[in-house]
């Protein structure tokens, strides 16, 4: 009986992954056929070398592995450091807004409004301000990560049941203890959804930062290959960037599962 249930559990898990995996495989297969037969190029009215097949992208990935790895390391550093700066600043700011109603009323509407502002277009300005090194990229990535994390964390800290606050006050809790023992744990699921949004923006922000001015990184490589019509390597660089984004997303999902164990 127990073994049967375990089998069914594994079966359900496989079924959940199997269908999307098969769909992905089917899409890649269709692309392979359409590209290698020249049908896709004909359809787009392009020379066949501009429309690489998955197999060609795969071999470009392998042949350029050290070049891609070198540039991926630069971009990964910008993404991770920028994300961490945005995370720490966003959480700190959210706590500040929770502790001061005046600050909250002053800043919260601006924070929500700022999410409609395309921060990425300021990347060239930041290069003028912060120079050619890693800093303008870190600032773009951190800014892009800051807002979703700060807004979600601020909402999470406010979502505490007022009855829980009364209970804690009646049990001699200080303001700081209510924050630490009740408000911060309550806000964690909100913080993680903010972090997931930030994680999807961070690699795009790093590439924008590199486009504004850099001599290495996947963004630089993508722009060079685009100018040189090296489409297979262009796709390979894009695939590496996608892998960085997915890895960051997966890391956050894993952290959430390890930390938020009560849901």
């Amino acid at each position: 009986m127990k073994r049967w249930r375990l089998m069914r559990h594994i079966g359900a898990k496989v079924a959940r992954w199997l269908l999307p995996a098969l769909t992905l495989a089917a899409l890649v297969a269709i692309w392979q056929l359409a590209a290698s037969s020249g049908a896709l190029a004909d359809l787009l009215g392009l020379e066949p070398f501009l429309v690489p097949s998955p197999a060609e992208i795969g071999s470009a990935l392998w042949e350029n592995r050290s070049l891609l790895a070198e540039n991926a390391r630069v971009t990964l550093e910008e993404v991770l450091l920028g994300f961490l700066i945005g995370l720490v600043a966003g959480l700190g700011f959210a706590v500040l807004l929770r502790l001061s109603e005046t600050l909250r009323r002053a800043f919260y509407p601006l924070m929500v409004g700022s999410q409609a502002v395309p921060i990425l277009v300021f990347a060239p300005v930041l290069v003028v301000w912060f120079g050619y090194g890693i800093w303008p990229k870190l600032v773009v990535v951190a800014l892009v990560c800051f807002f979703p994390i700060a807004v979600n964390a601020a909402d999470g800290l406010r979502s505490v049941d007022p009855e829980a606050t009364k209970m804690m006050r009646s049990l001699d809790a200080s303001r700081g203890q209510i924050l630490r023992r009740v408000e911060i744990p309550t806000s964690l699921p909100f913080v993680f959804s903010g972090a997931r949004i930030a994680a999807t923006y961070a690699p795009i922000a790093a590439v924008f930062g590199e486009w504004a001015g850099a001599d290495s990184g996947l963004g630089v490589l993508i722009r060079l290959d685009s100018a040189r019509l090296e489409t297979a390597r262009l796709f390979a660089a894009a695939a590496v960037l996608a892998a960085i984004a997915l890895a960051l997303f997966a890391l956050i999902a894993l952290a959430e599962r390890r930390i938020v164990t009560w849901r």
Binding site: E163, R169, S170
Partner: protein, 249 residues
């Protein structure tokens, strides 16, 4: 222990409580019953020092200012408000931790009561793994472990089914017999109030006034089922019921 004199309270235009006088001697249980929305929970929060009344004076154990009342009273809110990320024992030990006790010491002190409260073996269980009755007992334990002279219980068993509620009333009666504390209990259940309290105060609908004060004939009797069918108990219940219905008209 608790003395309430000419207390009125309003939220803006809304008058919640109007000129209330109440007394609770030490180590007694006072129950507040009344129609829903009559301001019972507000009164409890005022007594517990979570708010200051608009007018009048409240003293708990000789202390009049709200922060001093807060220091002398532990509130058990209507829903259990157990923190889902903490184990049962850490929920029970919250007050000790808030006062700066180390985790080990706080657990040891709160853990001593788990056996007596029928919670032995569930120290490390998260609230989601406990039944409704057990959660309520952990919430009461958390209130008791705070070690305050006055307990303010806001409809502690309202969320439970009828059978579990009767069980929990018997259990609370035993717990109060073992551990002499002064208690203000808000309830919407007259039978529960008369069984658990020494004195039941029936409040009118908003703004709350005292509609009747009835002494219980058999507070916390050992045999609950026998006690609640005694003629004196039935008569007291009928008086309370009449006051309640008169008060809500």
């Amino acid at each position: 222990m608790v003395s309430i004199r000419a207390v009125s309270h309003s939220y803006g235009e809304l008058e919640a409580i109007d000129g209330l006088d109440l007394e609770l001697p030490a180590h007694r249980v006072l129950a507040l019953v009344g129609p829903s929305g009559c301001g019972k929970s507000t009164l409890l929060e005022l007594i517990a020092g979570l708010q200051q009344p608009s007018a009048g004076a409240i003293e708990v154990d000789g202390a009049g200012a709200a922060p001093e009342r807060l220091a002398r009273c532990a509130l058990m809110p209507q829903r259990d408000m157990l923190l889902p990320w903490l184990a049962a024992i850490d929920n029970a030990a919250l007050a000790l931790r808030n006062r700066g006790a180390r985790r080990g010491a706080a657990r040891a002190e709160a853990g001593r009561l788990f056996e007596q409260f029928g919670l032995a073996g569930f120290e490390r269980a998260r609230p989601a793994e406990l039944s409704g009755g057990m959660r309520q007992r952990v919430a009461f334990l958390r209130t008791l472990v705070a070690g305050k002279p006055l307990l303010a219980l806001d409809e502690p068993f309202a969320s439970l089914d009828a059978i579990t509620r009767a069980e929990m009333q018997g259990w609370l009666a035993t717990a109060l017999a073992a551990e002499a504390r002064s208690v203000v209990l808000v309830s919407h259940d007259i039978e529960e109030a008369l069984y658990l309290a020494d004195r039941v105060v029936v409040l009118s609908s908003r703004p709350a006034r005292v509609a009747a004060a009835i002494d219980s004939p058999a507070p916390r009797a050992a045999d609950r089922d026998a006690a609640v069918t005694q003629p004196a108990f039935v008569a007291a219940r009928e008086r309370a019921m009449a006051a309640l219905h008169g008060g809500s008209r």
